[in-house]
């Protein structure tokens, strides 16, 4: 078989050019989209987060129970964000445009939940500073409030292609959350885990989540265009 080397080289060059254009055109990782989105929506995000922080902080301080009110307050604010996201598009007739966009309503809400979960770390640190928690309370807080939220976030992220609106995101998120809580509760995980192990587990999940944000996206790009980079 005779192969035209020159034509082959030309094809390769054109393909690389096409690929370069695509790389320039689209974001290369979910972190990039996330940062752009959050930068744009910083004002609204901060408003929600600040209200959320105050609510969670006050409730936890008054009841002297971090895990329950952290989780309760967190989901209350999350629900409010989901309703806000949905109503905003409904009121301003943005539904049609958002349904077609890569970051549809469900995904923009998912991105907001990421910010919320980042703010939750701040809330957690602030609470730890103000409340004198014992070791058992700290472990419970990590395993019932912090860790499941990031695992739910990872699960929701993998379900991203199926998510179309904020309600779906909220359901996926909350179901995964309670499934994890059920597993932890069933095995009474806080009775045999040390504080050191809890902190390592918490940090590992956050690191895994960041890696996942990059990895999931690359896989999807490959699916879209039949290429990977």
């Amino acid at each position: 078989m005779k192969i035209d080397e020159k034509a082959l080289y030309q094809t390769k060059k054109i393909c690389h050019h096409e690929l370069d254009e695509m790389i320039f055109k689209y974001n290369k990782s979910h972190i990039q989209i996330f940062l752009r989105f959050i930068k744009k929506e910083f004002y609204h995000e901060s408003l929600f987060a600040l209200v959320g922080l105050i609510v969670v902080f006050m409730l936890s301080l008054l009841a002297k129970n971090v895990s329950v009110f952290c989780v309760g307050g967190y989901f209350f604010i999350l629900g409010a964000v989901a309703i806000y996201e949905h109503l905003k598009n409904e009121i301003y007739h943005m539904n049609d445009l958002m349904k077609m966009a890569y970051l549809n309503e469900g995904k923009t809400f998912l991105f907001r939940t990421i910010t919320m979960s980042l703010y939750q770390i701040i809330a957690f640190v602030v609470l730890c500073l103000f409340l004198s928690l014992d070791q058992f309370e700290l472990i419970s807080c990590i395993f019932y409030a912090l860790l499941p939220i990031y695992v739910s976030q990872i699960i929701s992220f993998h379900m991203m292609s199926y998510i179309k609106n904020s309600l779906q995101t909220f359901i996926v998120y909350i179901l995964s959350y309670f499934l994890i809580i059920y597993i932890f509760h069933f095995y009474e995980i806080n009775t045999f885990v040390t504080l050191r192990q809890s902190i390592i587990a918490g940090i590992s999940v956050i690191v895994l989540f960041v890696i996942d944000m990059i990895f999931v996206y690359k896989q999807r790009k490959g699916n879209h265009y039949g290429i990977s980079y």
């Binding site: 320039f24 055109k25 689209y26 974001n27 290369k28 990039q32 989209i33 752009r36 989105f37 744009k40 905003k88 598009n89 301003y92 007739h93 943005m94 539904n95 049609d96 445009l97 958002m98 349904k99 077609m100 966009a101 890569y102 970051l103 549809n104 923009t108 292609s161 999807r220 699916n223 879209h224 265009y225």
Partner: protein
């Protein structure tokens, strides 16, 4: 590059909004012409994947149903009632749209500048969306649809509310895109189509009843368009019996342009048809309403 629509149907309760549409669209300007309620918007929303219906939809080999995310990347859409966040400035809104379309910061910055220059909106970049006139909003709508340089551009009534100057800008922009883009636009304004459309699709009661180039479609009503000048009494009688495209007073008599299969009056003479005549020929009932 082609967009294939196979057996597309959409039913609302008992009403067939879109009925078994089969069309293949290639790069160029395709105009969707039809009366209100003929199914134009429903068909466009189905092509965009906003409305689910029956049938198949492919862009090249990418199926809208099996791989919507990949399919939607190729589409730019401007809805008839263009929604926006009123508190955003034009720049903020376009940046927001570029983020949700997953475009990189560098690319979108470059693209927004290019498009605002092309559509004369550069001086309005820092104006709030709620302060824009209808025509300017339409231009912002077109820009957001073009942000990702889509291969398929769907424009629902893009010229409604535009003044003549804006309409010319729009026509020139669309014409410049037609070489590498499949443009599908719906309109009531036939003069917009005459000058730029490569292909016209006439839609009636959810069906594409006709498709072809401007000249080919006009051949259908060749020798069916008449002009006649009559006195007031005869003119009024003829108006009741035939489909009159236009009429006006000239030197005491009434000049009329009529679409009719038969010669409407012994003095009538055939004239070259245009798209208004064709529209009336097929949509006489809607025009009468």
């Amino acid at each position: 590059m082609e967009l294939v629509i196979k057996n597309a149907s959409k039913t609302y309760k008992d009403v067939h909004a879109v009925k078994d549409v089969n069309v293949v669209l290639k790069p160029g300007i395709h105009a969707l012409l039809g009366a209100n309620g003929s199914g134009k918007t429903t068909l466009m929303k189905m092509i965009c994947g906003i409305l689910k219906g029956e049938g198949e939809l492919y862009f090249d080999e990418v199926s809208a149903f099996d791989n919507y995310e990949a399919y939607a990347l190729h589409i730019g859409y401007m809805p008839q009632h263009f929604g926006y966040y009123p508190q955003y400035t034009v720049k903020e809104f376009l940046e927001y749209m570029s983020i949700v379309k997953n475009l990189s910061e560098e690319y979108s910055h470059q693209r927004i500048n290019e498009l605002v220059n092309q559509l004369n909106l550069k001086d309005k970049l820092n104006t709030k969306m709620k302060a824009l006139s209808g025509g300017m909003l339409k231009r912002v709508g077109i820009i957001q649809a073009l942000l990702s340089e889509p291969e398929i551009l769907i424009l629902d009534e893009p010229t409604a509310g535009l003044d003549p100057k804006e309409r010319i800008i729009f026509r020139n922009l669309i014409a410049s895109l037609s070489e590498n883009t499949i443009v599908l636009l719906s309109t009531h304004i036939v003069s917009d189509i005459e000058s730029i459309a490569d292909d016209i699709l006439i839609m009636k009661e959810g069906e594409i009843i006709m498709q072809g180039a401007y000249e080919d479609l006009l051949q259908i009503i060749e020798n069916k368009v008449w002009e006649v000048s009559l006195d007031k009494k005869s003119a009024h009688r003829l108006m009741k019996e035939t489909r009159v495209v236009k009429s006006h007073y000239v030197d005491g008599s009434i000049y009329m342009r009529i679409v009719s299969d038969k010669k409407p009056h012994e003095n009538a003479k055939t004239v070259a048809p245009d798209l208004d005549d064709l529209y009336l020929y097929y949509f006489a009932e809607e025009v009468a309403l």
